[in-house]
Amino acid sequence: STSSVLSTEKDESTASKDSTAEVTSKSQEGTPETPKQKLLDLIGNMKVEVSYRKKLQQLKTREIKKQATNKLEGPDSEGSVLQKTAEDTQRGKPLNPELVEAASAVASSLPVNKKQTESELLAQLRRHEETTDRQKRGGTINIRNVISEMAVKRQSPAQRGVRRSNRISLELDEDGQTIKPDRFVMKCCEILNIIFIFVYRSLKVGRRLNIFTKASTETENALKTVSSPTIWDLEFAKEVAAITAQPPRNGFEEMIQWTKEGILWEFPIDNEAGMEDDAEFHEHIFLEKHLEDFPKHGPIRHFMELVICGLSKNPYLSVKQKIEHIEWFQKYFEEKKEFLQEI
């Protein structure tokens, strides 16, 4: 029966995720209002959530008891919502009628489009329940502890840091159960996510204001039909530079000019300014691979090994320069080959 429970869990979680996506899309498609209005709605929803937090908590505790009975019931409680009934049937878990009534009351109190706000509120509530259900089935949670912990966090997050951690550890020890302390954070993230997606989509959807005209794409022709810039062009450029380069008005401008010229270093001082050594350390040290063309034995090999030893210890040369040294020696000994054979 455990395996069946797990499979149902997964199905419900996926179904709930799909439905949340659907809900969000539908809520946005259904409102042909300006983005500003939508934001106002969302903020209104947020306010409702904050004020109804405690009520939700109570309802959740009640729902734990009702869970077993409610799971199998059909969607009968909501009569006001028209669009969402289909989704509810899919999920098979209706909203508490008290919640629905509360949502309708809030919607009526708000000045904006009432049915829309109502539907959105209910959607939000449903999402909250989904998360709680998921969490409940996912692990062993003592919800009361979690709620108390959340309450503590809201009151004084700064001061009771130490005590909070102690309390949490105590709770863990007492219950011997795994508590998920990041539930609060998860919820905040979810809410923020919803807001961001909303705003992002609304930005995309809005009609153009036609303030800025798209710049005509200028085809970039060749810089100059002439192969090199003419003397007159150079002179003109020099004149322009001489005129625009006014003498510095103060010490700061003078320092800026010096830095551009390269007289003054850039601060904070970069020890590797002007040094662009892209080679790794092993290219500096292991230079034996360049010695392949040399004879294996004899004094020349001995000599070249000493050269390589010295070069590997030299931090001032670049890899290129070291390779040039070795190549020069190679060429030199090639020329002197006949002479060496006489010896």
Binding site: A245, P247, P299, F303, L306, V307, H325, W328, I343
Partner: protein, 128 residues
Amino acid sequence: MAAWALGWALRAARQVLPSPCTRQARSYYVDWRMLRDVKRRKLAYEYADERLRINAIRKNTILPKELQEVADKEIADLPRDSCPVRIRNRCVLTSRPRGVKRRWRLSRIVFRHFADHGQMSGIQRAMW
């Protein structure tokens, strides 16, 4: 002959590009000796690597002596001005060969002149 001398004089006089600076602009080298010193420095920079490598072959106990003798001849064939020993650290402003402080590249007289006028950064009359 006169034309050649004139040409040489022109080449000796290196013009500084006109720039909007109010400092004292020096367009010529102070004297011919300074010019020669500049030439020597340039050549020494060009031939520095070669001299280093040939000397590495010469100052050796591993390679055969014949090879080292050949290297001796080769280094003697290089232009005389390419050796760094011929460079003299002259004063930059007066071309004085003696009494030049290395850090400032100035002769002692010029250094004293500027220091007394407060134009040497961080220099103060010693008193203790």
